[in-house]
């Protein structure tokens, strides 16, 4: 365990039942070096020690604002970081640290054991290849199926994601599909090799409200049917509340709170989580609450709590790094990163 504090480490052992986690992210730091306008080298610290678990068979919502590091956490997990990324920490999947995998070893995992649903289906699909052929390519890359058998499997999965007339749609090019249909094809590609884990990065952001509900219902139903786990990245608390089992809230490259959806909504422990929930709830109640909203400075090197600048509770102690604490012993998986939460 890479966490320095004995209390935090002990807390972590209570909940970390290694056999049951599909994915365990531990202490992941990620930075990009660049030059500032004066030519001096500076580092954008995108992830600052991310800890996150996705339990087997659980659907986990990862929520946060633009720039919080949600997508970068996903990219690090599936090995899609740009070469300039400086990454440390561990991302454990089936006992293997994904950050150590390269080349063919990584290819055995991606698309087979971990499926990925990208935000923009039109960018995720290859524009000049029929969608059926893209599926067949993916199936045959990870199995010994013959071409006709793979084709059969592709048509099956297109039917399973609710595409009408899958035989005919097999031959469609991506531009011939509507946004909702294209996203169904992307979901089919993520699930066709029956992965243990599906990562979906803002899977419904570009879709209309009525289509969003269809796609999320489908995704959840297929993940459950295959007994897979899922990590859904979103900025929409509604999606987390209605579709996820567990949730993690990110701010400025840290997970500041995590736990079951029911627990976190019932007793949010981090000031940021409380403001976030209040901002969404207040709109339902017709009054309007907001959060102070200067984006965090990723270049600043500091040990302080990432939320200190915006926090209404901020005090001198917040200039020291907080450690992750269990919120209540009855629910040891509910953790928070805040000095002001008392250990139970």
């Amino acid at each position: 365990m890479s966490q320095p504090s004995p209390i935090a480490a002990a807390a972590s052992d209570i909940a970390l039942d290694a056999g049951r986690a599909a994915l365990s992210i531990r202490g992941v730091h990620l930075a990009f070096a660049s030059r500032d306008p004066q030519g001096a080298v500076r580092r954008a610290r995108v992830l600052n020690g991310v800890d996150l678990d996705v339990g087997a068979g659980r659907i986990v919502g990862l929520i946060g604002e633009t720039g919080a590091g949600k997508s970068m956490t996903a990219m690090a997990t599936i090995g899609l970081l740009p070469p300039s990324a400086e990454v440390t920490g561990k991302i454990l999947f089936e006992g293997v640290d994904l950050l150590c995998l390269r080349g063919a070893a990584l290819d055995k995992v991606r698309g087979a054991k971990i499926g990925f649903v990208a935000q923009n289906p039109r960018a995720a699909l290859e524009p000049v290849t029929r969608v059926g052929d893209q599926l067949v390519r993916l199936i045959r890359a990870h199995s010994d199926l013959t071409a006709p058998a793979a084709r059969q499997r592709a048509i099956e999965i297109l039917g399973a994601v609710g595409i009408p007339d899958p035989q005919a749609r097999y031959r469609a090019y991506p531009h011939e599909l509507s946004g909702g249909m294209a996203q169904r094809v992307v979901i089919a590609m993520a699930l066709v090799n029956q992965p243990q884990l599906v990562i979906a990065d803002e899977p419904t952001t570009g879709l209309d409200v009525t289509v969003q509900a269809q796609v999320l219902d489908l995704l959840r139903q297929l993940v459950r049917a295959q007994d897979a786990a899922a990590l859904i990245i979103t900025h929409d608390l509604g999606i987390v509340a209605q579709y996820c089992d567990d949730m993690a809230i990110m701010f400025a490259g840290r997970v500041v709170e995590r736990g079951s959806v029911a627990q976190v909504f019932a007793s949010p422990a981090h000031p940021y989580t409380r403001r976030l929930i209040a901002a969404s709830r207040a709109r339902i109640g017709h009054s309007l609450a907001s959060i102070k909203s200067d984006p965090p400075d990723l270049f600043r090197e500091t040990k302080a709590c990432v939320y200190a600048d915006r926090c209404e509770l901020a005090a001198a102690v917040c200039q020291n790094a907080p450690m992750e604490k269990v919120v209540s012993l009855a629910n040891p998986e509910h953790r928070v990163l805040c000095h002001f939460v008392q250990l139970p």
Partner: protein, 334 residues
Amino acid sequence: MTALTSPASPLLHLDNVTRSFDVGGKRALVAVRNVTLRIQPGEVVGLVGESGSGKSTIGRMAIALLPPTEGRVAFDGTDLASMATDDLRRLRQRMQIIFQDPWGALNPRHTIGRLMEEPLLLHTTLSAAQRREEVIAIAQRMQLGLPLLERYPAQLSGGQLQRVCIGRALATKPDLLVLDEPTSSLDVSVRAGILQLLDTLRRETGVAMLFISHDLETIRALCDRVVVLYLGCEVESGPVDTVFKNPAHPYTQALLSAQLFADPTVKTVRQHLQGEIPSPLAAPPGCPFSTRCPIYEARCDEGLPAMRRDSAGLHAARCLRLPPDQFSSSSPTN
């Protein structure tokens, strides 16, 4: 609500407006079909619908960025089509628009101060010192710190930029503000702040708003009245509370049931629609919603149903299967 007291003199009146676009091959895409919309001074009207419903086209016609193909758009009683270019330019001080993407709406090479001064340069005769004073006053109302005035758009956050856009739009003290998805590109926490600002401005300045959004909760929080669009047609309209509590059109019902509440203890019974919105190039012959409607029947294909109103005349919907005791009078153009 002003809608009740002075129905005779709307600030904005879209009278049976249709807008089609030529898409080549002698085909026309009808983006807006026979829409009638009145906004009273000081009234905030929400326009809700999914992509392709014609929301933005209506917003552009409302401030004369786009002429209607058929029908009439009148601002304060004057037909916009009849106005000379100079008169229209003068009128533009009284109608302003705020776009979805504040990054695209601001010239990246001007400072925020210069950008906020621009409408004053165009529409007023204030001296440089007076303009400076006015810009500072506006910035303060928008809760923008004064040091920001020296910066460039790329140095501001999305929420701050949207405040700049709102400040620019309000600089000429308009009577009507069209807001086209002003918070869709912003984070949840920032969004609430912008809505709060708009709510305050609306109460302080009495500016009327046409608020375009696909987010029902935003509409509910801010608007007096809501108009629901589907495939270019108005399918339902009425006071916000009435429409949200008792949606009459099956599309509005489905839209409301598809909302995802940010509360795991609230479980909505989702009413699933089949398929997606048809292309406006292949719109169904009768009711635009017929291809996805859960209560469709054969007669729905026989032409566009008329808007029917409730006895008070406030709540209206375009559906053949409305309860007749509740929605009686049929009034296609009102």
